[in-house]
């Protein structure tokens, strides 16, 4: 395992110390329990936005803490849901009296830990609403299973709910927007290589030199199928097809196209991917009104990409364009 770390068990803590050292002017980092909050939290009268999940997906979530997006992020161990005590303390740290929205990616662990946290927070007097993100079309959606995973749409939910909260909307309104974003977004990802969890020390899965994994999650979970390596355009077509047909997206729709890198894929390749996304969507009669290209929700050093499409309306465009001031996403400020 080749990583710039000191101790596999201390990676998250030491990274948080680095975040505190680098961004102490804008972020407040708590170590025990671990969370990263806006320096000016709680913002009185504003709905607090909390997100969290396993570490290893940086800049998600800590890189999205700041005005116009998250009030606080709870990092778990690498690829492991954070624990209820973190979410409880974080909820209380950002509750400005208007309640707190929990953004939860639909993984059994996250769901159960957040559920427990929400019960505890409610018992201690915080108003909490939870929104489940489950946009991954690689997974069959069924009530008999754990349901779809939350992947790329998480970034969009965080941005758009954050903007709504900043506008002074109520907890119920902000939650409704978050749910709308989740409902109107679909994603699918693929990996060229696996990644290595520091405290495991070896790659989560092995891929031959001429293979790729289609339909991966963001935790190095094996995907839907393993196939022969293909050119980028063919890969994009493979990812877009199930996304486009699931919602479905129709000719005339306005969309936000989000091409995400899994961590180990250079930006230059993500633009090769975006090129094809733009071609295909234009052929289908969709208008890309907004886009995002880069490494925003990653799986450590995994090489690969995910594509997320979100159906836009005027309100979502306005919320997307609203100022955001975080370390990883910043405009209008």
């Amino acid at each position: 395992m080749k990583k710039l770390i000191n101790d596999p068990e201390a990676v998250v803590r030491e990274a948080l110390e680095g975040v505190a050292a680098a961004h102490g002017d804008r972020l407040r980092v708590s170590h025990d329990p671990a969370f990263v909050a806006r320096a000016d939290a709680p913002v009185s009268g504003k709905v607090g936005i909390l997100s969290g999940g396993g570490s290893g997906h940086e800049p998600l979530h800590g890189g999205f803490v700041g005005r116009g997006m998250l009030d606080v992020a709870c990092p778990g161990a690498v690829f492991t849901s954070p624990t209820p005590d973190q979410m409880l303390a974080a909820t209380q740290a950002v509750d400005g009296g208007a309640g707190v929205l929990h953004i939860v990616k639909n993984y059994t662990g996250d769901v159960m830990n957040f559920e427990t946290a929400a019960e505890l927070a409610a018992a201690e007097g915080s108003e909490v609403e939870s929104v489940l993100v489950d946009d991954d079309v690689a997974v069959q959606d069924s009530t008999y299973t754990a349901g779809r995973r939350g992947v790329g749409a998480t970034v969009l939910v965080e941005k758009l709910a954050g903007a709504a909260a900043e506008e002074g909307r109520s907890l119920a309104e902000v939650a409704a927007i978050a749910r709308r974003v989740d409902e109107q977004a679909r994603s699918m990802g693929m990996a060229l290589t696996s990644c290595t969890v520091p405290h495991v020390g070896s790659p989560t899965f092995e891929l031959a030199d001429d293979e790729m994994e289609i339909g991966i999650g963001i935790h190095g979970e094996p995907g839907r199928e393993r196939v022969r390596l293909e050119p980028a355009d063919a890969i994009v077509d493979r990812l877009l097809e199930p996304i486009l047909s699931d919602l479905p997206f129709n000719s005339g729709d306005r969309v936000l196209a989000f091409v995400n890198g899994m961590g180990g894929t250079p930006l230059i390749e993500l633009y090769v991917v975006y090129r094809r996304v733009a071609q295909v969507l234009s052929e289908r009669g969709l208008t890309i009104e907004r886009n995002l290209v880069g490494n925003f929700i990653t799986s450590l050093e995994m090489a690969g990409t995910s594509i997320t499409l979100l159906k836009l309306d005027d309100e979502l465009v306005r919320l997307w364009d609203a100022p955001v001031d975080t370390t990883a996403l910043r405009w209008g400020v």
């Binding site: 068990e9 396993g54 754990a146």
Partner: protein, 205 residues
């Protein structure tokens, strides 16, 4: 209790890599690390302050697991131990109490996780273990023997997850590809119950 905890921590540390590997096959490869981290914390916590009673110790185990394990296993094992604590409150556990306690614990896990038997989760080790314990206690077997039977059943249940298709947890994303692998959570459950049987055996030997 502290003997059980110490044995569990030892077994989990020893089987850490195997549990990680089982989890890598159908999940994200961290189950061994999660459980080892949790039980290391539990041992440290219990060493720090001796608990007044078995129930208090079990509660500390549950709360500690809840705040240190994370993932799916954290709240599930947290609930399990908190339920054990509840069921043993005010009475030091004998055979009948243990049987009731495991009943309550399994119910708590199912309440939190909504898994049914056959979903390829720890529930597939817990239910046979619970039933075997109840049967042995009903048969009047001594506790050590009953717990050993329970651990046997858990191991059997864990092995029996191999051909199952996962319907809960991270493994469910794999669909058909989850078939042919043993569930890591069922495996750690069997380890914990074997440690319990061993610690009792030791105590009463």
């Amino acid at each position: 209790m502290s003997e059980w905890v110490r044995r569990s921590a030892g077994a989990l540390e020893q089987e850490r890599d195997r549990l990680n590997r089982l989890d890598a096959d159908i999940g994200d490869g961290d189950h061994g690390a999660n459980m080892a981290r949790g039980f290391t914390a539990v041992v440290a916590r219990l060493d720090g302050a001796a608990a007044d009673s078995s129930s208090a110790a079990l509660r500390t185990v549950g709360m500690t697991l809840l705040s240190t394990v994370g993932g799916a296993a954290g709240p599930l094992y947290g609930s399990l131990f908190i339920a054990l604590a509840g069921a043993t409150r005010a009475r030091e556990p004998d055979a009948a109490v243990w049987a009731d306690a495991l009943d309550a614990a399994v119910a708590a896990v199912q309440r939190r996780g909504k898994a049914e038997p056959g979903d390829k989760t720890m529930v597939d080790a817990l239910i046979p273990a619970r039933d075997a314990l109840r049967a042995a206690v009903d048969d009047g077997k001594p506790l050590a023997e009953a717990l050993a039977a329970s651990a046997d059943a858990a191991e059997e249940g864990a092995r029996a997850t191999i051909p199952l298709l996962a319907r809960k947890g991270r493994a469910s994303y794999l669909g058909e590809r989850s078939i042919g692998h043993q569930d890591p959570g069922a495996t750690s459950t069997a380890l914990l119950l074997r440690a319990l049987a061993g610690s009792w055996d030791e105590t009463t030997a």
